[in-house]
């Protein structure tokens, strides 16, 4: 049974709350973990992983950053499947065009390339916006983003804002390596100066694309980029695999990708000052779809068998390289050595056999590798109880700010107020424990390196 994105939490939670038990298993967004685990609605799969009755898969195949999304409290709940993160995509042909390079140099004083900083992202998207650079007689766009409310638009703000807010450091504490809450007090930091500046710049960025994107869902923005009408976008991995599909894409062989751009400054809440330093922050945004087993299921082993079957290495690798199915690279065997400093065990040949362009695939996979393993810090993933409601609040006020009905400060202050109400309603202490557990509070900051 397939359910639209915004209805998924409702359908799953209604089934579990009412104890109807219509679903043996489900594939939810990882944001739902807090609710699912806190209420014992799902069962861990640890007992079956080494059971010879079932297909074999190895949780360690999933890179450590993603693997933590499949776990809670030291237990494994999900079998390997999807790995989501937001990376930046651009048009290699445009960015390498000598005429464009010269024009960019003249206008901004630096060489055109896939943006590596927020400043470059703002400049390059402005540079390509509202002029017909593909010769179809219509003005094209600097960047496209799906900003429709009650869809997945909030992920795009989160990806953009991470380097403004996350303060790198050796441990996860009250001030360092946190993005959503102060983990000691559970006070929201969503309206901190870092977030407010990020939202101001984010609104500037969205002006470098079509106004219509305020009403677009993910697929609509992908289509504009894939049809060759936008110079940049950032998104989960689907763009990389969709680019090879001739039915949907006119940009095969013209795609480049990189990790989300770094900010040139970040706000340190401990000192109350902006730190002028390049800050590269990796993310795990998206849902990282994977199967979870309902505690109400009477067929737990059967549904586990299905998920384990899908997680078997040859099958899952084929699903990932096949693309189009929305399963993005994250397992160590998804990455060829040439994009991973020799550490990945995959092969680019598998991607080429599935119709990928070599350069497109290498850039795409390299972007993911860098996002997972080569960043200065990490943006945590919000998956505490109440996360879907918190995200809805953020999503709504972001949309209000984007259409000019609230200023960035007003919007984020409103989000902070509503998050505080949710925290109080669900129990501050309960949420504090869940948040600390989910971000590894007090422990060394994640410095992910593959085995």
């Amino acid at each position: 049974m397939e359910i639209p994105f915004d209805q998924l939490p409702t359908k799953i939670k209604t089934d579990l709350i009412t104890r109807a038990g219509r679903f043996d298993g489900f594939v939810p967004c990882a944001t739902l973990y807090g609710d699912l685990v806190a209420n014992n609605w799902i069962v861990p799969v640890d007992p079956w992983i080494r059971d010879p009755r079932f297909p074999r898969w190895d949780p360690n195949d999933m890179g450590p950053p993603i693997r933590q999304l499949y776990r809670w409290g030291g237990r494994q709940y999900g079998a390997n499947y999807d790995a989501d993160a937001w990376v930046l995509y651009g048009r290699r042909d445009l960015l390498n065009d000598p005429k464009e390079k010269a024009a960019c140099q003249a206008k901004y004083g630096y060489a055109l390339r896939l943006p590596r900083t927020i400043k470059e992202l703002l400049d390059v998207s402005e540079f390509f916006n509202n002029r017909d650079w593909n010769g179809d007689g219509r003005p094209d766009f600097g960047i496209v983003l799906p900003l429709k409310v009650n869809a997945q638009g909030f992920f795009f703000y989160l990806a953009f804002a991470a380097p403004y807010v996350v303060v790198p450091g050796p441990t996860v504490d009250e001030y360092r390596n946190v993005f959503f809450f102060n983990p000691r007090t559970m006070e929201p930091i969503i309206n901190s100066p870092g977030h407010v500046k990020a939202l101001e710049d984010y609104i500037r960025l969205t002006k470098n694309g079509p106004r219509a994107q305020l009403g677009w869902d993910l697929v609509e923005s992908w289509d504009v980029f894939l049809k060759g009408n936008a110079a940049l976008t950032y998104s989960p991995g689907d763009i990389g695999s969709l680019a090879k599909n001739p039915d949907r894409s006119r940009i095969k062989g013209k795609l480049t990708a990189g990790p989300m751009p770094a900010s040139t400054e970040y706000y340190d809440r401990r000192t109350g000052r902006w730190v002028q330093k390049l800050n590269r922050v990796g993310n795990l945004l998206g849902c990282s779809w994977h199967g979870l087993i309902s505690s109400l299921s009477r067929n737990k082993e059967t549904i586990y068998h299905l998920f384990a079957y899908m997680a078997e290495r040859p099958r899952l690798f084929q699903i990932t390289t096949f693309g189009w199915g929305g399963v993005d690279p994250g397992k160590i065997y998804d990455f060829p050595p040439e994009v991973s400093n020799g550490q990945g065990t995959g092969s680019i040949q598998a991607y080429l056999q599935q119709g990928f362009d070599r350069e497109d695939a290498l850039d795409w996979l390299r972007a993911y590798w860098q996002n997972y393993y080569e960043m200065d810090a990490w943006q945590e993933y919000l998956r505490i109880p109440g996360a879907p409601e918190m995200i809805n609040s953020l999503d709504l006020h972001l949309s209000q700010a984007l259409v000019g009905r609230e200023t960035p400060k007003q919007a984020l202050d409103a989000v902070a107020r509503e998050w505080t109400e949710i925290v109080n309603k669900l129990g501050r202490e309960k949420l504090r424990r869940a948040y600390q557990e989910s971000i590894g509070y007090g422990r060394p900051a994640p410095r992910y390196r593959p085995r």
Binding site: T10, N39, V149, N150, A212, G215, P388, N392, V403, E406
Partner: protein
Amino acid sequence: MRGEGIKWALLLPAVGWILTFTVYPLLFSLLLSFRNWNLTSPPTWTGFANYVRVVQDPRMHNALRVTGLFVGATVSAELLLGFVLALLFHRPMWGIRALRAVVVAPLFTSPIALAFLGMMLFHEEDGPIAHLVRAVGFGKVHWLSDPATALGSVVLLDIWQWTPFAFLVFLAGLQGLPTEPLEAAIVDGAGRWALFRHVLLPLLAPVIVTALLFKLIYSVKVFDLAFGLTGGGPGISTEVLALYIHRQGLEFFNLGYASSLSYIFPVLVSLTCMGLVLRVRHLYERL
């Protein structure tokens, strides 16, 4: 006595049905509106706190405003257009049956399917309307991305779907009118406007009120079009009352607050309908 017993026995299933599926949910939701309950923990008594929140909630104020605008725009446009169409089709002409069938066709469209159709029609870059607007030399219209026009897009779709309802009701009303008063007025020398204003309208008043009440009640409850087409956005510019209640109840599981919000509906509809009926009755008596 035996006959009396049978009468009550036969009534029992209907009464049981109404008590179980109408009265009990109504009372349960009323009770719920004085509690906080998210289904995962036991409900807690909150008194009138949910109702105080209803009064203070700015998102609720917005939902009321949006619903009011939607109701005002759709009901007046649909009744007016429906009336004009009914007058147009209330005459002998070639192919009238086929034309009437075509006119009422939108009524049978599923609202959620219509919303998705609307997403394609109103697509601001590649939608057919955008191409048409460009072809006649106008610039872009931000159908779904501008708060000022997004509600208009939802309204347009509703008008497209529900004008046939008003058309059907008015056509039936026109076809059921006695001809004598009209003929007598013509003999007395009444002009077209006088005929319409002083004879046709008063005779049709009960039909107009019926159509008005039906559509008013339906429009106040609108959900699927806004849900499917805009998701309530951009921002909360198209978040109608039913959509907000759905969010509170079925997405956030704030069942107590959603129940108290739901009680706005009967109050709103009853007050509006009562006011309307009184007003129309007053006008009717004056005529």
